[in-house]
Symmetry: C2
Subunit: 281 residues, 2 copies
Amino acid sequence: MTAPPPLAINQATTRPQWSLAQAIDGYARAGIRGIGIWPDKLAECGLAQARRLIASTGLAVTSYCVGEMVVDRAGKLQTAERNRRLIDEASALSADCMVCVMGGLPAGSTSLDDARRRARDTMAELLPHARAAGISLAIEPIHPMRAADVSCINTLAQATDLARELGTGTGVAVDVYHVWWDPYLAAEIARAGSRILSFQLCDWLADTAALANDRGMMGDGVIPLARIYAMVRAAGYAGACEVEIMSERNWWRRAPDEVVSVCIERFRALLAEAEHPARPA
Amino acid sequence: MTAPPPLAINQATTRPQWSLAQAIDGYARAGIRGIGIWPDKLAECGLAQARRLIASTGLAVTSYCVGEMVVDRAGKLQTAERNRRLIDEASALSADCMVCVMGGLPAGSTSLDDARRRARDTMAELLPHARAAGISLAIEPIHPMRAADVSCINTLAQATDLARELGTGTGVAVDVYHVWWDPYLAAEIARAGSRILSFQLCDWLADTAALANDRGMMGDGVIPLARIYAMVRAAGYAGACEVEIMSERNWWRRAPDEVVSVCIERFRALLAEAEHPARPA
């Protein structure tokens, strides 16, 4: 029996409650082993201070989570300089990878095909800098409901194809929220194999009504988490499981220490189920 | 140059404003050539009365739109009897096809795989009755954001595979809202070919925030409508284009005659663009 994977928490899970400094402290106090960090929270804290706090707690930075790689939310194209700076930050944090979300359609465009070509070109242009910095780029497929505004990469198949094309130093991020519905998920996780650089957990609530920030805690929704976890492990992924729950209606309103403790408890239940799957109904 | 396809309107577009009798009258008055009908609206009107009104206006019934084929919204399995009755209604309406939406996960289940197997079995069991009634079953792929609660069939590839497996008397419904994001859309529309039994139009608003009833009018969103229209026509589809816009924030609040007239105007613009595509930006 292999050791269970470390549990990490993406700081988006406690975004409104905790600054980066508070999250580092709070997660570490609860025995969490890794943290996913966002650029706006890092900027608030300052890079030097963040490095000191992370070093003092021994937390791993399991991901540096970057959106709008190609276009920003206003539909304006990004500069290569902006993205190189983010890679430098990921490197300064010794992040396991930079999770890259592409952005949606530029203002005035109705062509996802163009956006997808631009995503490939942007990543290809950036890759030498990432390789030099020793930072792997984890391309994250984002749920098709966010194709217009968050990312033109919407299936694991697309992300894996892109990572294969770009080659060394790239891979994919598998967030169950974005891929759980995919009829080809099992085959695509197996195909992604060693390209899986990040694995993120949450749940899809059966009564989800909003496109943004309406995620559920593991076990409260309909995603077969233990099955997907087993697929990812069977594909060779041995890294952390990073919980990422943006939840306006529930978890963002709770005491953050409570959120963290529920994450731990539910992750244990997930591991137990994966170890001893219940008989299918 | 082939004749332009007839414009139809799905009565969901004027659901809160108009009963079925009012929709038949209102669409016909505006020169619309076909109507998509829903079971609850038919029940309100009565089948005999609906048949009389449709015959008197000369409208085609381009679809009879049936949800929850496998499980209802409460997660309870449907009976075959219920679905056979719906086929009989479609037949009595001389509908071009019955658009079939499967339903999501049964209560307590987290297995889309099981739901998909059940969808296949349910449709296979129903097919002899549909064939005897002369009603084609158009399997509709529904946007992945509704996998939990509306349908376990979420890509055109899945719907086409299912129709191929089931054979004669089955096909697919292509609603741009559900499929526009699909990276394999062009290839999948070509592969669906003569199996395309229904083509539905609306738009995806860039600022979509809700999963339900937040569709846009053609031209107000980011779907490349003229391109998808051209794909569907090139695949051999010569039937009606049926507008289906559920819009709580806008079109459901307007005078229905105005909604219909905007549908006509925007459909003309779409055809003009398809005839003379603008140079890509």
